[in-house]
Symmetry: C2
Subunit: 350 residues, 2 copies
């Protein structure tokens, strides 16, 4: 299996199914681990970095923690392939744009991604469509156990797992749930959600994590600290309280829009559709912005021109690297804008 | 014939035909006249105003200068009817919103409109689709002659015709040509046109004259002075020089856009179409703004979804008073926005 094998389908995180799928796009659980016998990456020499990379990739293969595994050497990878993996949420922007020996192991279904030499030596990630944290945690925990049999992870009896960034010290867990909050954004109540999240020491970030915009009104809600709480406590809080409450709040805002501003709501949905169906050049950002009201419209049963799967495919494949892989060539920004509009029109003409 | 009889068709000024019709929407020639035996309106008492109104309307009828005449008493007219006449360019905004005895005589084809007690006692207007100033001037001149046999107009041997506003003193003629300049607007070269016009003592105004915006990139080019030039000189300058040069300039800008920014040009045209075809609420201003690139697209042969007649009908009938007459009821701004979007969608679904 190679990167191109991924490019014909949507991947796990945009499958559009699962619990609370009208608001929750996907769930992610990530564990940060470092090898005890090597320094953190900021202190590691290039040769140590290469040794870490080799050691971990060998043990991942030996432990068979990835089914039908795809191991991508990010250092050697084509820039379009790197960007492609970012667009599929399989590696971080930092990982794509970093330097030195690094790579990622990905399962065929794109439910698992193990980043090697990102910020930590190893980051074990699980991804699921919708809200599905329990099975995700079991799976990641199992991978962690199996790798721990082969790799000595840096661990302190008082602090727990040691990580490159102090905020990850402890369990090393980060739970992130991607939620679609167009109504809260529209009514500006999103600011109240952000303040409440801050009080609860939660981070609210954009589509591609830290420092990125909430393109398409997609927000990542994640825990900011991992010290002093068990993994199960954090998972439970997200599953039973944090995410259901945000979903409820968003649903109430959608209902209010439908009750008090029906024409404006439909107007926003249909104009977005009209532009996507007719534009001759369009950016990724505008595409994602326009897909947002349509995504809401589909979930509210107000829009039936196409379904959520088509929307998610357009969302994913209209991105720059996906487009260039589709055309099997490197393209300028202007060429991509035209090719993106062409692709969207052809999808919507089906 | 009454006002409602006009409401089923487009009228002369949006017929979309005539010379240079890809740039020139319509031509207008207006003469300002005042009765010698009465003071200007600013000094006239209400009873004098009423006498002026009665005298002129009687003589218009007696002289048969309007075929199948429609005489509208603007003072008594329903506000929607007044606005309706403004939207059809048959009376000015000032005439609609003024006070006291006033009215307008309109020919069935809407090629003639005689405003009584607007700024002057009488304004004789002729309207034609495209650039057609010669026959227009002959016609208006003939009406003026026939009325002059029955009415004594204020005239000074040195100054010429006396008018309420000094800028009209002399011949009292105003030539206005409505031009569509989307490419010059887009490339910002419109500013050079405006500066050149100023140097030539021409006024560049918006759709509904003085102080109005150039909605839909429609500009009225008109002479600012009437003193010291014969009517024929002014007509000739517009016909042979001013308007052909502006049209040439606009055409060159359109060609340049088509050559150097084909995708951007088509993008603008098709997005406008996509929004009009899908919006659920829309303002008059936005409608006219969106129709502008489509109007250009039709003339450039780049857009064939509907023709210029349909476009002109939508332009006219999507306006507030036209919409309310269509629905035979007074509507709030919000109701109109929804009804306008419904009307446009139904026209574009044909």
């Amino acid at each position: 299996m190679n990167v191109d094998d991924l490019s014909s389908k949507t991947g796990e995180w945009l499958r559009g199914e699962g619990q609370l799928a009208d608001v929750v796009v996907s769930s992610r659980v990530r564990l940060a681990r470092n090898l005890a016998e090597y320094p953190f990456l900021s202190k590691a020499s290039p040769s140590e970095r290469t040794e870490i990379y080799r050691t971990i990739t060998e043990e991942i293969a030996a432990a068979s923690v990835i089914d039908d595994e795809l191991l991508v050497d990010i250092e050697d990878a084509d820039p379009i392939d790197r960007q492609f993996l970012v667009e599929r949420n399989l590696i971080s922007r930092n990982h794509a744009g970093g330097e030195g020996s690094r790579g990622v192991g990905i399962s065929r279904a794109e439910t698992r991604s193990l980043m090697i030499n990102e910020e930590d030596h190893l980051r074990i990630q699980g991804l699921r469509s919708g809200l599905d944290l329990d099975s995700l945690w079991q799976e990641i925990n199992d991978i962690d156990d199996r790798l721990a049999e082969r790799l000595a992870f840096a661990f302190d009896n008082t602090l727990g797992y040691l990580t490159a960034c102090p905020t990850n010290v402890g369990t090393g867990i980060r739970v992130s749930v991607m939620v679609h909050l167009p109504a809260l954004k529209w009514t500006k109540d999103i600011e109240r959600v952000e303040r409440a999240a801050q009080d609860m020491r939660l981070a609210v970030r954009g589509l591609h994590g830290e420092g990125t915009e909430a393109a398409g009104d997609l927000y990542q809600i994640s825990n900011q600290t991992t010290l002093g709480q068990s993994e199960e406590d954090i998972i439970r809080a997200f599953r039973d309280s944090i995410i259901p409450r945000i979903a409820e709040y968003e649903r109430a805002a959608r209902d209010a829009l439908a009750r008090h501003g029906e024409s404006q709501l439909d107007d926003r949905i249909w104009r977005a559709y009209g532009i996507l169906k007719n534009a001759r050049c369009i950016s990724t950002e505008e595409t994602q912005t326009l897909l947002s009201p349509i995504r809401m419209g589909i979930h509210l049963g107000r829009f039936q021109e196409f379904d959520i799967n088509t929307l998610n495919e357009i969302f994913l494949f209209a991105q720059s690297a996906h487009l260039q892989k589709m055309h099997q060539q490197s393209m300028s920004g202007e060429q991509r804008a035209v090719a993106r509009a062409d692709y969207i029109r052809s999808r919507l003409a089906e």
